[in-house]
Amino acid sequence: MSVIPSSPDPFAADRGGPAQPLLSVSGLVKHFPVRKGTGPKRVVRAVDGVDFDVLKGETLGIVGESGCGKSTTAKLLMGLIERDTGDMLYDGQAIGGRAMPWRSYRRQAQMVFQDSYASLNPRMTVEQSIAFGPKVNGVPGRQAVERARALLARVGLEPKRFAGRYPHEISGGQRQRVNIARALALEPRLVLLDEAVSALDKSVEAQVLNLLLDLKAEFGLTYIFISHDLNVVRFISDRVMVMYLGRVAEIGPSDSVLAAPGHPYTQALLASMPSLDPDNRTQKALLAGDPPNPIDPPGGCRFHPRCALAEGVCGQVEPPLDPVMTLHRVACLARQPGSGHSAAPAQVLAA
């Protein structure tokens, strides 16, 4: 049952065909200036040269510790903060350019925030919050309200009971359902979920994740799913991108990245996850301390001060994001032939 009246041909809006990435990001950079004392101008390198594609119909999970640039990336992708440099293509068209101005892009890409309460206006009923988007985009008031109610029903909230409620009158899980309904009200193709289930109880989290999967199948959505929880990312993502200090450490299919991680950082992250199997528990912490200050990221590989495999070369050469397998790319010198790292595999014969 489709509650949203959509165009007769679902691929009418699909310009570039199924092989064209829905979103293509390259060289994305965002530095925030910091003022401290009278020293030289310094910057936080929140996002420092990030490239990735989001394929049509997939879910790309983005993981990393807090401060790694996940949320900044999300805000950059939605244009909530302006990027310093970098290209972002939506279905082959430059976002912010003439063919795809921000306004048109935002009708296709929506976001669900982490804090379910802060992302709803406390003075508006649930229904008004959902109907706001369609209304400002020219949908007549009556239709916008009808759409809001249909969406409420679709996300599992009975309109008769919930439409007139205020955010403080419903639970966190219900609020997050409202936020999802609000994001869907503009019929987007891409939905960015920034820690969207992180604040929920485990049981509620599972329900919302299942809802997200259902909605994705029903409306043919593409998700970017940001989380610090590897279990959740494993459950929902087709591909996973691991970020560390504003850079991509590793990206590839979930099965491959989470089962056979190429980057020592990903290995450490996985090892630090609590395991349900008592025989499988690690004894020593592989990831000690906090990530270094993004104002002064270490030279060379940013992970080398915390890395078990670090060698002299790691402090000098910044590892490129190279494929170790088809589709699975890792930014680690120890995985790259000819990098000078002692653990590097032998040079593959040039084809």
Partner: protein, 307 residues
Amino acid sequence: MTAPLTAASVALDGNLAAPPDAPEAFVASRGFWGHVGHRLVRDPVAMTAGAVILIVVAIAVLSPWITPMDPYKGSMLRRLKPVGDATYWLGSDELGRDMISRLMLGSRLSLFMGVTPVLIAFVIGSSIGILAGYVGGWTNTILMRTIDVFFAFPSVLLAIALSGALGAGIFNSIVSLTCVFVPQIARVAESVTTGIRKRDYIDAAKLSGASALTIMRVQVLGNVVGPIFVYSTSLISVSMILASGLSFLGLGVRPPEPEWGLMLNTLRTAIYVNPVVAALPGLAIFIVSISFNLFSDGLRNAMEIRQ
């Protein structure tokens, strides 16, 4: 008080508020202002204060028709009669005019001069503060640094300095008091708006493609007007005291117009003859001022619905 209703209608802007032929089964929620009203009604202190304010306002409106005597007509033979006099229930003043009539008529100017500056400052100060808070950046810096300058003057000093420079009179008093309150309200409006602007729902509204003006009108205004309004009501008490204070100094209303501060001043000479009558106008100022304070406190408590 009708202003909260206005604020509510801003929040429920446009036809968002009116679902088309809403089926009766829909659960109706009281809404924010509904909750506030509900809680306010259950606060006996605030309700008493509100009732006192209403009575004084009613007297002020009706006074030209209901004063028992002519408030301007005096008699040198019947000067400074004590409270409880058969003719003059609350005594008579230094020119033999009926105190109760003058107190009733005096409420008009006292209320007008106390409330008007806050009202004007509410409009101007909120506009400046919301603009500074929402736009941010350099606009904010310039506006707020200018306002800091006015904070360098204690409010009584600023009011008197401005009045003193502009000269006596009702209009000049209102202008000076407005200048005193605009920076205070603007500062509160700015901090409230800055807080709201960083909320995720404003980002969400931006993502929906709404223009800055629509976001300001529909998403921001409804959330900032309430706190600014409550803060402003707390200033009415100060404004009443200052306005009457200006008249007390001879900088506001001029004789023979009755105004509580001015009456207090002219009766100062009578404190040895008839102290109770001399103190009456001040008592009137005090009662109204404390009522506004208590009502404002009640309103603020009622709005503290922790979310």
